[in-house]
Subunit: 264 residues, 6 copies
């Protein structure tokens, strides 16, 4: 079981579900149905499998659920179904919210050459699940964590003593290195010292376009900062290769799902 | 350390922060400053203490931070500060978002006799932290999980075979028992069988007021379903004792905070 | 991350991979290739995704890998690749062994109406992964654990005081109940008291066929005990609905895979 | 939940509290009262909140409880209260013991300019809780672990090849560095190479005073080794800035607390 | 690895041992020696094996170490040895303290027919380790937790509604049941209803002897409450079968051990 | 409790053992007997102690069990015994399989000067348990993980830039360093640069003997690759100091054990 799923169960159930233990006998079997109460992009079904062992999925991650559509059915002990209902919903509602938000971002840049990236601004403990949900929604996953790619941000540059030194420190890498540049001078220094990916943070679309012209294809460009559903199209049309937005994960709204229990 | 904090560190750092290990020597010390980039109610500082060991807090949970205000400073190894920056922000931005949302709900019902409750619709793994953040924002905590109070919902009533039987099943309790009622008939059956707290779900404010008149003080009343910042005042003025809203935790937006590293 | 993956990393890496830390700089990037050294059915690729964040899969779980075929490539920090190599192999070699064994069982009963089931005789900590591997190999998953289905075994019958009483104890269940019967008398008692699934343990194929004739379709039949690749066909031809074998998981041989590191 | 709290519950409850499950129905509610049976300084109430969800505290950490005083009340399911009683007591009795010991050390040096520090000689798994308890008792927390401050002990000096080299190795630090010195020669070498904090271990008070005279304010001084409630005053009067004692955490006696269950 | 050992490592090392990483190269090998600085009964060596992988033990759990005796040697990377030193000592010092205390209790009752029991008043997270240490010291382990034996205490009696009812509730048990009795009336009621083990709490030795005379061998007797090294002999001579004391685990003093690092 | 034991319990029991909870009352006590159904070398009894608290062992790890022999008895609550039966068997069957395989390898080289080593090809999460089982079977434990010894394999040599450089990188080590050599040239380079232990992988016995003659005692030699019960004797007679085989752990067959429940 994913640790985050175990944690969610522990904090909700603790010493036992006293209502269910009082009202429902251990051997009572039942069916539970997951019902969309608004349209959304589904994600998080892997958690349902972990919670219930076996479940019948009518939709898969990344598919759209219509309002009133049943997307999953589970049969099993009624106590199991009732006791894990809230945890199941908390995961799937949140993750489907991320997938739905990702789909909107992806749609917003359709037709440009720019792709949307997610970030590390994910819900604590849910990094892999939210990365998968964002991908199911149609955007591209950026690095998973601090361990799988090099990204030199302004704090690293300061600690290293400048752009040149920071790039020197990672010279042994033979794969692309991304570095954040904040001034035209840092930009030139980065290009002269072998940077292949540049991160430009907190520029306007117009400023971004101007910087990208100067870069002139010598490196790939990612824009970040202030990018939301309203602004993402303008940034995508600057010629950037990527735009990244933390809002996909850190501020997605939970979608509305209900769980119907049927005794059988 | 809270398990959710360990998980968040593991998923972000994994095999190591290769950028920081490449650019920053182990013995370099630094200072980091947490800076509010918009006004919000602070929450989650206990996580900062767990992440850094020692930290200097200028504000406490529940206090308001103004834009550009530094609310915490931490001194320590630069690697520690850099490697844990993202996790620290992910927690505090989210939890302060919950506290800020809770404050808005609390303000919205000011002057009525109705109090706002949170729910179990919390972020997986963050139940206790989000409960504390909501309380710091000024609302009242409902039960923590399935283990610390009895709440008979419609699925339990179905599994037990009716309102009367469900209340019978929990008769040995000598503390208040809350039960969800969905029809006037269930309402009367609940009152006749000793329910002391009633949950009314998905009514309009007008319907709620009508039901509450019938109850006539014979039980405490909680309203839930469709309650958000726009509607909460109307529900609070129905005469209900409590209104509860999952939006406080499941759809709060992360507030904007930056982390400034200073070499010293 | 799955807890079992975290555990495997912790026990292998502990205080650090001293060889790799001594020989390989933090910023060195590399490519690793997973190469089949014998033909097998692939399983466990979800673990590779958890270990490396991003990986390029050329085959999916349940597909056959030929000898010398590269089924996955991963690019990233050389330290990450080297340090997690053994853990990655330990998982994929074992899980592909399970999938390969499951495929052999499945092939052995092809053309009969009998289906092969796995059991709870799985490697500690790997229940879900081995269930998925067995399914990828083509057999049917039995219950996941003690929580998701009722199976009354001889020890339960003894503790309950007989077949009749045990079936009475689970009467509130409205879904099928499986019960182990060890004598003809228990068989009749089970059928008279509503059992819908019968487990016959440690019979010969001839005995099984005889019992199944007496049951005459009044209940579904599962055979277990002494079922291996040599005997499974004979058991499948008795008219049983299911045969189950712990050997699929508890005694599968690890397949041979090598990991080639290429500096790039 | 803190991991150490989860562990304590798991090891005590395991497969279930068979006495309570046999004697007490799931829906029975009750009140539990925590009663001091001797005077002490309270600590560890955060664990009570984690164990019970909601609890009414009449005293806070760091406050003194008189004999026979009730410092906390909790209402909830009787099973919850009974099953978690022993774990709750094991934490609060131990942590209050630490706070009480810390208060005695703090009182013993009152009026001097010397402050008492705790150490890393804490109970496994309880570092943060014991640090908080010691602070509640009135002493100053030393570093939390190996990660948040540099302290060069004699084994590091040996491994580095001498005082000079060890201080050279941490030169990039721009914050104070503490180093243990065991001879006058090491002392001089440390002062000449920029040490700002010195640790003197296992000296008598008279020896300590003599060394401190030689140091003459060029560095801060911490004394450790052989410091207990009987000797701490003498060490505090040597002119040292700090004295540290492992006894505060590794040998504190559990205070006497009882838990009274009242059915309501 | 035991979870408590992992926790202890995590809380001490956190983001890394910055002193050791700065002063000691990854490939430096060394030898560490564990040296008794006072006489004690050894316990906890299983933790040393978990921390270091391989270790050479000169003494085993339950054996006595003399002052200045080296009881264990470990060879390995110097970083490993230094970074895990404090955690190793925290465990072995505490557990040997428990074993030493247990030996004193055991010696104190030598020659009587009474045996000393430990309790569930153990350090959170260390139940199994402390039980093993107490047994190594020579006393008898009481139940491990709430799950492996029935012990009806006064709170259970209250919740069940009296001694008779509580014993009725556990009637299906066919093994001995222990029950706490607090009055002569409860004593008689317990004996009449089949109790085979009685717990008498907080009596003086004289009172205990008087109760035991009345019991007259009809049940086994355990005395608890107020039993320490000074009083245990008097209680043991009352004719009781067992005396139990929480002091063995909750108030044992850590013994003094040092760790000597030798470069080789 | 070992984390792997907790995981195994969680995945098997999950929300509860619904069959046992339905058929067996909480206070029913019972005895369980572990019975060998084939001859094997016992291992894993430490897990039984963790699962049951107290258990009576008639054999110890490393001893041989005859067919039909009872090697352990446990008394306790029937629910506990039934619910943990499968997990107990899964551990002991697997670990005894490892011990039995290790004994066969050990017997196969009897009379030679060569010793058998295990590897890191262990079941995820069971490293320490399988190392102990292998040792109980009579073979020698190789390093536990990446943290406790240096072993330079061909991927490290590639990343370091050659044998000479790799040995240079670990020069600060003062203990033996093992290095894998794949050509005669690498062999000579390793010997010239101070290697004291050589790993020869995937040679035939004849080739191995030839290389070992060239080495002529200047370093210790370990052979690996293609070593199984059929070939191990031939490799052991080449003059090698050690042969290592992953098959001891990664492909051991579970031995046959049954658990008999007796109501008492």
């Amino acid at each position: 079981m994913l640790e985050i799923v175990r944690l969610a169960l522990e904090e909700d159930i603790g010493a036992g579900d006293i209502t269910t233990e009082s009202c429902v006998p251990a051997a009572r079997m039942a069916r539970g149905r997951f019902l969309a109460r608004e349209p959304f992009i589904l994600a998080g079904t892997t958690v349902l499998e972990q919670l219930y062992g076996r479940i019948q999925l009518h939709k898969r991650d990344g598919e759209e659920c219509a309002e009133s559509e049943v997307f999953a059915d589970v049969e099993g002990p009624a106590r199991l179904l009732l006791t894990r209902e809230r945890v199941a919903l908390n995961f799937v509602q949140r993750l489907s919210g991320v997938a739905t938000m990702a789909r909107r971002f992806s749609d917003a840049v359709a037709g440009t050459d720019c792709r949307v990236l997610d970030t590390r601004k994910t819900t604590p403990g849910m990094r892999m699940l939210e990365k998968a949900a964002a991908a199911a929604g149609g955007i591209v996953n950026h690095r998973v964590g601090l361990f799988d790619a090099i990204l030199i941000k302004n704090n690293h540059i300061a600690a290293a003593g400048g752009v040149r030194q920071a790039l020197e420190d990672v010279r042994s890498a033979n794969l692309p290195v991304e570095i954040e540049v904040r001034t035209r001078e840092e930009l030139r220094e980065a290009l002269e010292n072998g940077a292949t990916h540049l991160l430009l943070d907190n520029l306007t679309p117009a400023e971004s376009a101007d910087w990208i012209r100067e870069i002139g294809g010598r490196a790939q460009v990612e824009l970040s900062g202030g990018i939301n559903l309203q602004t993402v199209r303008a940034y995508a049309e600057t010629g950037a290769d990527f735009v990244s937005s933390g809002a996909i994960t850190h501020s997605a709204r939970a979608v509305d799902i209900s769980f119907r229990l049927e005794l059988i």
